[in-house]
């Protein structure tokens, strides 16, 4: 992803496509979208990834979370009358070097999270899938999901603080 962002590397983008496109299609079709429209959304999501890669910050997000969020935005804008309400974006400076320790730390937390999800009891895991596929209302999500999100939250906060700090220095 970094090669896509910094070098506009097409081969790297092609491998991102090979990994994510079939998963995205499966993901989008699980919410009841037909195959044709799902591919249309996959195409738009991947084009957004290419065109907005400068907004990707490996100190705050994994590629999969970033793509998840783009896919959600696209789907909602497509099916609903009102566009999805989006938060303001934190603009990154071009020269900002990602902090290797932070990137690695986030990677480790994300791997831990994946393990935690894989080790859930099947019915719990299904609840998580349903919730994040958008099949549950917020009232239904209210019961604790039992996922340990505390450490990944503090890790992302750290990444955000560093970014804020750097922005302050530049201005």
């Amino acid at each position: 992803m970094i090669a896509v962002r910094d070098n506009r590397d097409r081969a790297a983008f092609a491998s991102l496509f090979d990994y994510f496109a079939p998963r995205l299609k499966g993901f989008i079709m699980r919410t009841g979208t037909g195959s044709g429209q799902a591919e249309e959304i996959v195409q738009e999501v991947m084009l957004t990834v290419w065109n907005k890669s400068d907004l990707f910050d490996p100190g705050r997000a994994q590629v999969s979370s970033w793509i998840y969020q783009i896919a959600r935005n696209r789907q909602i804008d497509k099916i609903r009358k009102e566009n999805r309400a989006l938060p303001e974006e934190l603009q990154m400076e071009e020269e900002t070097e990602p902090d290797a320790g932070q990137v690695l730390g986030l990677q480790q937390e994300a791997d831990r999270l994946k393990d935690a999800i894989r080790n859930l009891k099947p019915e719990q895991r299904e609840m998580i899938e349903k919730a994040y596929l958008g099949e549950l209302t917020h009232q239904e999500i209210k019961q604790q999901t039992g996922l340990p999100l505390g450490t990944i939250k503090s890790r992302i906060r750290l990444g955000l603080e560093r970014l804020r700090h750097e922005l302050k220095h530049i201005r």
């Binding site: 496509f17 079939p22 299609k25 997000a61 309400a85 989006l86 938060p87 303001e88 596929l133 996922l147």
Partner: protein, 211 residues
Amino acid sequence: MKTITHHIPDALLAAYAAGTLPYAYEMVVAAHVSMCDACRADLAAHEAVGGAVLEDTASTAVSADLKSNLMDLLDMPFETRSAPTRKGIYPGPIAEALKGKAPRWRPLGGGVRQDILDAGPEGSARLLFIPPGMAVPDHSHNGLELTLVLQGSFSDDAGEFGVGDVEVADQEVDHIPTAGPDVPCICLAATDAPLKFNSWLPRLLQPVFRI
């Protein structure tokens, strides 16, 4: 500047990440996240769960020409929606709902004014303007009401709410939000059902004002 002490509950952040909130609530969450780094990070954590679920989703083969078509499109201009930007006291998502204009205030009585940004079967979102020291008529509501402070402050039984704070009130709460003494309080209030007022006059006016 006073720090934000009342945040978005975790379940609402998860539902926002999953895209299941009605537009009115979405606006409150997106506006608060624009003002609050703690909730921005927590939302990102929920997106990380979403990303993990996405990676573990069973793949479905894509048609053969999807990739080549896509690679051809990389050099073409592609229109993406940009994230909204702040305007004055209004965070990006609210400025976007106002379409970049100033609010069109309508009187609600007692100097209180409102501008309905969105009203539909799924819920409603409106801006409220409450003069210093004034109170919004006593009301309870069906479902959940989220109120985000954009200017000034208000207080009720649940405590004091300053800029960036969100009050989450369920239907059991009968509350009388009163604006702080110094400046008018401007806030964004979102519900998933019409408000119910406890005295007869506002109740009579309710269908007229769509509140």
